[in-house]
Symmetry: D2
Subunit: 341 residues, 4 copies
């Protein structure tokens, strides 16, 4: 059993890490850190873990050496503390945005502050197994992708890599409320958020940078908060290159994702769930990807869906850990999601 | 046109008062007070009022004399400021809990603090037209009932008054999230509150005191927050007195509410909406009441539903004002609710 | 008082027509037709109308002459019966899709059947007052736009008319469940639809044809069903013409919609409701329109929101009737929507 | 590996059985029957199972012998076919209501039809491990309890058994929409059901009979459909016997449920989840039970929550199978539920 710890464990991503890691056959969670909730029992904050853990949150200072350290800490605040964290564990898996972008200048543009640990950017592997599995086999530093970025990259990558896309793409992303975190504010008040369709980022959403970096496709992204606690869905719209048709698109996905344990191609002409839908993915590590091609305009609409706290963050992180340690990739990640839900 | 003002106008009850009063044919809203939002445009906080008002929130100190003053202020904080408010307006309509209970000792027991203006308790008429219309015709001080209390009293009163109830009653109340107000906290975070059934008061809910005072029935009340932004529903369970049957129950309701503009008796044996359901009452001032009698156990289940921000507070307040001024009781309150919604 | 009748009155659009018309100061609803519910009381099907109407649904055959006849009937089935209807009323307002498209060939392509009354297409005025108010003043035949089309046209028209858009536009539409009507099927089962993000039309949604016809902009549209009972929101993405910037965009909207009673320009940089959001429009006839411009890519994201059963259908129909009869345009349509909701 | 089959596998309970059994370490699902969906792929109807099963639904006639047969068939229709089913498998686990009540006369009273296989009633063990584990160790015929009955029995039993309850109890049950099954009808149309609080059984709900039979407590039950897809919560109100206080209540629960793998006692004075809440139990086999005691009235409010498709049916069935076969009771049932969800 490897010893693992989670920093930022009282938040929603942190709680999801705990849930997955507590049920994982090859690790033991030895520490759950939270400055905000230090001293409180873990299952008091994450009541789904009642009966499954006796842990109490501790201050980050109380952290000791572990085999794998997960950082579910804030964007722009992780980079300042990173040197302290890397001393504590052979493998550090960061779920914040701070080490996802290889170019510190792009980071500054999208996050509004200069990068404080630019010298380490090259050490981090982007934690998306479907694109970087080989490098993840030996990665001691992993930067886990953003939830909407994960969905968009998994939708765009096979077509981009196969040269089927012409020009850029537009991405319309929809997200549930847990993506905004566990800190209460007017924007996530139930009475305001319930049933809403809130366009919180009409232009220049931060995940554009990750998507472009990973796929080579210039994207314009819009993000809308919709009713759901968990779940991200993206619609990507792109023009197809000369000669590309529905068959070519389907083939590109099939090739790219053959054997992938967590990608399902969902593109049917009938049925309620003929295209990817996050509702049935809650709690699962699947990312479903699908598409529709309009031959008249030679364009494609690509759709991807996932649970923002699982494949969009904690699950992806654990999948990356599994790869590094040579464990079965599905270890701890076998829950398939519910129907109905 | 009478001049009216609202204190606490940035909250949810305050916003609902503004919506109703702005559309009211006989009044003009001259001031909207909010300490928290002073200086901000009203329609910025209540975006449904865009294009309908040019008002800006002002500090309470900026209040000047008006004809009717509505207090949508906090429980336990209204009583301390009441003398200042009563100097400003001939009619003061208080939507807090501070002047609902005639006995200051009961107030202390349920609200945990001694009453600071007990000498004024006798001046306030309980603002429930169905029980106190005559006194409201000349009432310059009105204490508007609590939302769950309104529903429970309207369900219990006809039977209690007709002597059809034996012993006490239990009340199971369910409420939407707007009842908790517009101040963000962990308890009304969307991710926690969405789809929940949260028993936030298993015993001794404060509204028990109002219900007992108004109906003479001793009640034990349980309150649960359910998914809905607006809406209260109560289920009251009572034993029927000797000889009371379904016909007697129906008759008691019919007599009690004949001619009432905002009470509808909803007790059918078929149809999706055969008993009162808050979903179709959103935005309306109706309180629907219904019942089912179980002859075997000689007991009755009484059901009432309303919109907690309208008949459960702001609408009831305006109805009371209409009565005092001799205006049609429906003035400003004609919206019937939506189906579906 | 003009005498009006509604055909298809048991459906959701029909029920909304009844709600608005019953509260309308200048008309009397004399007949509510429904083949499916004939013989049943109207307020049994639409429980929000309890106490407001004593009408019973009748078979369409029982229809007699009225001043205004509203058709809330099915697409592809209205055209076959239209001659019968036009004999019954001076003004016929059709809320189906059958008379919206001026070119029968386009109709056939999008609706899959040949048009059965193509000779009448020229008699119908497209019932969008913001674009066709002058023609509506004398229109005896009105074809009310589709709900998503209404939103998209109102978002695109001002820019298209001012020559600010270059090339086509993509439209991402989200819609609540009432748009699918009142007939139960697997697709609108609560357990399947609740919290879903269902891409039911990834390409070639029917409303594309209306939007292109009205704005001259070629659109590619995607439609997704999201959690909400009422409400449509569209995001339109377009490239701006040379020299067009945010100021020009804002000016185009201001000019186009100056004095419009039901259009509000909502494009702020702060606040929860800084862009149009259907949640606060439930029950109202407003269509809020807003935008964000990305100077870097010289593109704009246009957002519009409305209640699909009001401005997206029944309300728009009544607004058109008001114009034809010289009544105040807001008559019957004054409900502003709720916050929170 | 034991061979198992599910009849009624296209419904919601059937789908949940498939999900659990497919992930179960000791069984293999060999047949999924559904008359309605015969010939269709299982994962087309239950899209959460994509990639996990290649099964196709077959007609019930195609059933062959298996080790365990699960019947997720309709109430009142299972009993007529039971003889055919019992020939096919050593263990038959019936999830319908037909074999839960030992007295055929009570069955007739609550289900409205005479029992067609009363001679078999004695063969069935009531599948609630917390009350009947010993008998379940050798039970070849199991009748799985109703979802609301399970919650109410688990709340009432410890107090009833310890003699702490005086007189009967009232039960207020709330349930999500999946309990109504997968067949579309007006009552489960999203637009009608969303956000509703529908008192569909104000008196004499069928589960009263099971609760009384199992606990010896006469109950009066009210059932309300609330917004949620999954989840049942019951509030039971009872008077406490002389001398019973909060400590005695807590002790009774602790004793009754010591060592139970799926019961958690949740009765805190603080925290959002201080009493049982179905929201965090989705997908899990836990039943959380809690209570609050009001010393003044010497009464208790007991609260229990579970996922109606798991501990309220499919999970409980699998737990019973595990017991019969000597497998770990948690096998296949380890998913803990999500926070937030």
């Amino acid at each position: 059993m490897r010893r693992v710890a989670v920093v930022g464990a009282a938040g929603y991503v942190g709680g999801e890490l705990l849930r997955i890691l507590i049920g994982h056959p090859h690790v033991e969670v030895v520490v759950a850190c939270s400055r905000r909730q230090a001293g409180r029992q873990v299952d008091n904050v994450h009541p789904n873990l009642r009966g499954l853990t006796g842990l109490t949150f501790v201050e980050p200072d109380a952290l000791d050496c572990v085999d794998v350290l997960f950082l579910a800490t804030q964007h722009t605040q992780t980079m300042g503390a990173i040197h302290g964290f890397t001393r504590l564990a052979k493998q550090v898996i960061d779920l914040s945005a701070d080490f996802r972008l290889s170019d510190p200048e792009v980071y500054r543009r999208y996050y509004g502050v200069p990068h404080q640990a630019a010298e380490l950017l090259g050490d981090f592997v982007y934690g998306l197994p479907e694109l970087h599995r080989d490098r993840l086999r030996s990665a001691d530093r992993v930067a886990v992708p953003g939830c909407m970025a994960t969905a968009a990259i998994l939708a765009l990558h096979p077509l981009a890599a196969a040269g089927l896309i012409e020009g850029g793409a537009s991405v319309d992303a929809r997200t549930g409320s847990s993506g905004a975190g566990a800190t209460a504010g007017p924007e996530n008040l139930h009475a305001e958020r319930s049933g809403s369709m809130r366009v919180f980022a009409p232009v220049r959403h931060r995940h554009e940078a990750e998507i472009a970096q990973q796929t080579g496709v210039a994207v314009r992204m819009t993000a809308t908060g919709v009713e759901a606690v968990r779940g991200v869905q993206v619609l990507c719209r792109a023009s197809l290159a000369d000669g590309a048709d529905e068959r070519a698109v389907r083939q590109a996905y099939r090739r790219a994702y053959a054997g992938e344990p967590f990608i399902r191609i969902v593109a049917y002409t009938r049925g309620l769930y003929r295209l990817p839908e996050p509702k049935i993915l809650t709690g699962s590590n699947f990312c479903d990807v699908g598409f529709a091609v309009d031959p008249a305009s030679r364009s494609a609409v690509l759709v991807a869906a996932l649970d923002n706290l699982v494949k969009g963050s904690a699950g992806n992180a654990v999948q990356s850990m599994n790869i590094r340690h040579g464990w079965p990739e599905r270890a701890g990640l076998e829950f398939p999601g519910l129907h109905p839900n």
